[in-house]
């Protein structure tokens, strides 16, 4: 019988923890220097070259009030490469969990979390984690999903 559930990774930036669907994750790399783009908006401050192509760096801290934005030249200890629609994104992170699985009945519309890139949240043990939604990110950035 097929196991029911959603495979996830927890991606952390400072005090923010976000669940990311494992099937979107292409790689979890170590700290990587990124290339700052002149005049770039804060949410997409630069790019990294990954697998022979330039990938936009997304600063999750920019979407959550109270967190320190990624500083120029700052490389967080992990770089999570995520598929997002037809694009690929790089999420600098302070920590990344192992893959874990949650039953689908633990996924609910977002009520508790105020993370704007999540349309749903995971109720897991004694925690509530926002579930990162790439389409919401693209919408926030003004890019069609």
């Amino acid at each position: 019988m097929r196991e029911v559930g959603t495979a996830l990774l927890t991606v952390g930036v400072q005090s923010l923890d976000v669940a990311v669907r494992a099937d979107l994750v292409r790689e979890v790399a170590g700290a990587r220097q990124w290339v700052p783009l002149p005049g770039a908006r804060g949410e997409v401050p630069g790019v990294v070259v990954w697998a022979g192509r330039a990938v936009a760096v997304i600063d999750l801290a920019r979407f959550q009030p109270g967190l320190a934005p990624l500083a120029e030249g700052e490389a967080r200890p992990r770089l999570v490469i995520v598929a997002c629609g037809g694009s690929t994104l790089a999420l600098p992170a302070d920590r990344v969990s192992e893959v874990w699985k949650v039953h689908d009945d633990k996924v609910a519309p977002r009520h508790v979390s105020d993370f704007p890139l999540a349309g749903a949240e995971i109720v897991f043990e004694d925690r509530v984690l926002p579930l990162f939604d790439p389409d919401l990110l693209l919408a926030r950035l003004g890019v069609g999903a």
Binding site: Q33, V35, P36, L37, P38, G39, A40, R41, V44, V47, V48, V49, G52, R53, A54, V55, A56, E72, G73, S87, T88, L89, L141, G142, V143
Partner: protein
């Protein structure tokens, strides 16, 4: 070794800004330039917003760029370096970094091991942007 492209490079704090050398017609000392004050490359690109350098350093040299319509001038206060990059290291920038259909002045990026990354400037797009800006100090 593969095919290499040659760039005239302005070195900023964390990145080189490269103009394809084949599209730079000539470089003129600012003291020898008698036409209108050229727009500063870095101001056009918004490098100052990166906190890279205090603004308003006067241009020291003028770059005459070949454009589809002829030639256009831009200025820089920085020293110019010549740098070669393997063509297979140059990657197109993703659309996500150009919000709302903003002009793509930066075309490609290279991030070679052990060397500063390079952002390739599209000279035609840079000149088009310069034409829409009023250069600081241009009293003409």
């Amino acid at each position: 070794m593969g095919l290499a492209a040659t760039f005239l490079v302005l070195r900023a704090d964390r990145v080189d800004l490269g103009l394809p050398a084949a599209q730079v017609a000539r470089v003129v000392d600012r003291a020898d330039w008698t036409a209108a004050e050229p727009a500063d490359v870095e101001q056009l690109l918004g490098v100052f917003r990166m906190g890279s350098r205090a603004p308003a350093a006067p241009c020291a040299r003028v770059l005459i760029l070949k454009t589809p319509g002829g030639e256009a001038a831009v200025g820089t206060a920085r020293a110019l370096l010549v740098r070669e990059i393997l063509v297979n290291q140059l990657c197109e920038l993703p659309p996500l970094v150009s919000p709302g259909g903003a002009p793509r002045v930066l075309a490609r990026v290279a991030q070679p091991e052990g060397a500063p990354p390079l952002l390739e400037i599209d000279p035609a797009a840079l000149c088009a942007l310069a034409a829409t800006e009023t250069p600081e100090g241009d009293g003409s």
